[in-house]
């Protein structure tokens, strides 16, 4: 990968996050759940990188570890903070707080991510209060203008979250994340609990706000349709590893990893012919990963080498990264 730092907002190198598996009376660690297993990524400035994968593949853990909500097991994250390259994990608490003003998160569940005891106004300005930014008047004005931007009437400022619908709460969650004017936002399944008509409203809102705030977004979702709509590039994750990254249409049309192919064919399509690729079995247990390729046990094309050697994520033509021994020789079908 090229080290063109002027355009890279977040650089993730060999990131690992293992959770200890504890057993017995003394709670001794008997193994590790490898939620994020050696992930390297570049997120470019002002792009939306879509991270897609099935439940339990580690996509949320990756998102949270990048902004240091979880302490990493190994690896580094370099964040481009107004031109300075900062290694996020080397920062102390105080310095981190400063840098974190530029990284925010939008959570999945709009029902548990807002403080029920605070008004909408207090929820939105909380990041400003924590970082001691502005006075009461400045914060109030900011909350009012944000609320308008996310499409809610000013009257909602004094209301409590319980009186809002799911879509309205998610709008408040977005306003809160933006109140501190971050540069980088991790959006973890921000629309998955919403009905499609509301989901479309929120997706369009996020697109608008991205260009207005010049945001870099890591957008995590299990829904490929949503990812396609919002992302410039797509990364596909499977059991703790990234298996394929490419520009949106490239990934969808000239798919190079067998897992991506199966994933694409599984997505129900409106009025399309049914020709799903049915994967046998389930993903491997992230505590006891197989030797060789993590997808080998379910792959339709696996050969001897796949069970013994783990393929590296390697660059192919046109910024297309694939982790598969046979990515050159396989002729996979994309969405069409």
């Amino acid at each position: 990968m090229s080290h063109n730092n002027s355009r890279v907002k977040v650089e993730i190198n060999n990131l690992k996050k293992y959770f200890p598996v504890k057993k017995g009376f003394l709670r001794k660690a008997v193994g590790h759940l490898k939620a994020v297993n050696d992930v390297s990524l570049r997120i470019k400035e002002r792009e939306t990188l879509g991270l897609v994968g099935e439940s339990g593949c580690g996509k949320s853990t990756l998102g949270r570890t990048i902004i240091k909500l979880y302490a990493p097991t190994d690896g580094e994250v370099i964040f481009n903070n107004n031109g300075d390259s900062i290694s996020v994990y080397d920062l102390g608490k105080k310095e981190m707080k400063k840098v974190r003003q530029n990284m925010q998160m939008i959570f999945q569940d709009p029902f548990s991510s807002l403080n029920e005891r605070m008004t909408v106004m207090d929820n939105i300005i909380e990041p400003l209060v924590c970082n001691n930014i502005g006075n009461k008047k400045v914060r109030g004005d900011r909350a009012a203008s944000l609320l308008k931007q996310v499409g809610l009437r000013e009257g909602y400022l004094k209301r409590y979250p319980h009186s809002l619908s799911g879509g309205q709460r998610q709008r408040v969650g977005i306003a809160r994340a933006l109140s501190i004017k971050p540069k980088f936002v991790v959006a973890d399944e921000p629309v998955s609990g919403l009905d499609v008509s509301v989901q479309a409203q929120i997706l369009n809102l996020l697109k608008e706000l991205q260009s207005e705030y010049k945001l870099t977004i890591l957008f995590i979702s299990h829904d490929l349709g949503v990812i396609r709509y919002i992302a410039n590039r797509i990364a596909v994750m499977y059991t703790g590893k990234i298996v394929e990254i490419a520009k949106r249409e490239k990934l969808l049309n000239s798919t190079k990893h067998p897992y991506t192919e199966a994933l694409l064919s599984s997505v129900p399509k409106l009025g399309a012919k049914k020709d799903r690729i049915i994967l046998e079995g389930t993903p491997p247990d992230p505590v006891e990963l197989p030797e060789g390729c993590i997808f080998s046990s379910r792959c339709l094309y696996s050969q001897d080498i796949c069970y013994n050697e783990s393929p590296e994520l390697t660059k192919q033509k046109g910024d297309h990264f694939v982790a598969c021994h046979f990515s050159d020789s396989l002729d996979l079908r994309g969405i069409n």
């Binding site: 309205q168 499609v196 479309a200 396609r228 409106l270 049915i278």
Partner: protein
């Protein structure tokens, strides 16, 4: 929909209201549909549109109070019954009586949305499936029921079924639990299978497995399936007919191809243009404006009028449009197709 002898279940002008302290919620407010042997009816709608309530009412599973069937009929055509031409009025049965219990699972099976909360965590999967078999088949003993359970679990694709029947629900993955749920629903060879969001909590690769399984079982047994989902794409892949529900009413119903390629009702159109698609050109999403109104405080006229872009003022917000056959086999409730407006 032209009726013929293959009709196994009919729902006519069904209204189910919930009488709560805050007011009356008209969860299902006059719906008509029927199920045919070997065919799948998809019911689609957003949360709160009444799709699950109408499904549960067929088995009389609506908690009462507060829920009540206030109007309409649910007719089950029981071919094994000699009296009354085999017609059973489900809405008139005692919901705790022998007759409805005989229909549940025996004649009409149901698959619930959340496979985790619909199994009891205290008993093994095998015990729970066998229990259903024993209750509904007096002639079988425990051993035979056990054998049949293993057979069923094999059929729905659970590997090493003979061992896995001794597992508890938490030892099954989400997809496996849903398979076990389907095995339980099929345990007494029902003529009708009601699947209430059977794949909603599952990953797409597992969802594909379950949809494939449902199709295979239907081809094998010729069951009528009622598939409820919020995901139009899921319905469009499996269903023959689709009914689109909004606030307790069926707004449009037609064979699946017509709904997808030529939707007539503004709500269906809005729904389709809200779905981010994976195939074809990338188009800007055109979401439906506003939000679903509070069901206690429903609009006076057409339930969709406050959000509708083609609203005819003084008409749509005052009167409820009737369901009319706008094109052959294509029904919708909308004034824009009525003659006076044109």
């Amino acid at each position: 929909m032209s009726k013929n002898s293959d009709v196994v279940l009919e729902v006519n002008n069904l209204k189910i209201h919930f009488f709560t302290d805050e007011g009356t919620v008209k969860a299902v407010n006059g719906i008509d549909f029927y199920l045919e042997k070997g065919k799948t009816l998809g019911i689609i709608g957003e949360s709160g549109c009444g799709k699950s309530v109408s499904a549960h009412s067929i088995l009389r599973l609506i908690p009462s109070p507060p829920g009540k069937i206030v109007n309409g009929e649910i007719i089950y055509h029981d071919s094994s019954l000699n009296k009354d031409n085999g017609v059973v009025h489900i809405e008139q049965l005692n919901k705790k009586g022998k007759e409805i219990r005989n229909i549940r699972t025996n004649k009409i099976g149901i698959v619930f949305q959340e496979p985790m909360s619909s199994f009891c965590p205290h008993y093994t999967i095998g015990h729970q499936v066998a229990e259903a078999i024993l209750i509904h088949n007096d002639e079988l003993n425990k051993e035979q029921a056990h054998e049949k359970t293993v057979e069923l679990l094999k059929q729905v694709g659970i590997p090493k079924a003979a061992d896995r029947i001794n597992d508890y629900p938490h030892q099954f993955s989400g997809g496996m639990r849903q398979r076990a749920m389907i095995a339980m629903a099929l345990s007494c060879d029902p003529e009708i299978l009601i699947a209430d969001e059977p794949t909603t909590s599952l990953d797409v690769t597992v969802e594909a497995q379950i949809l494939e399984l449902l199709e295979d079982i239907q081809a094998e047994r010729g069951m009528a399936i009622m598939l409820i989902s919020h995901n139009l794409a899921v319905v469009s892949e499996v269903a023959d007919w689709v009914a689109v529900m909004y606030l307790g009413k069926v707004m449009e119903k037609a064979p699946v191809g017509k709904i997808i390629n030529n939707p007539l009702h503004p709500y269906t159109k809005g729904l389709i243009s809200s779905i981010p698609k994976l195939e074809g050109e990338l188009e800007e999403l055109q979401p439906i404006k506003g939000i679903v109104p509070n069901p206690i405080d429903m609009p006076l006229g057409c339930p969709f009028a406050p959000r509708c872009e083609r609203k005819v003022s003084d008409l749509c917000d005052k009167e409820v449009p009737a369901e009319i056959e706008i094109k052959p086999q294509h029904y919708a409730r909308c004034f824009i197709y009525s003659e006076e407006v044109e």
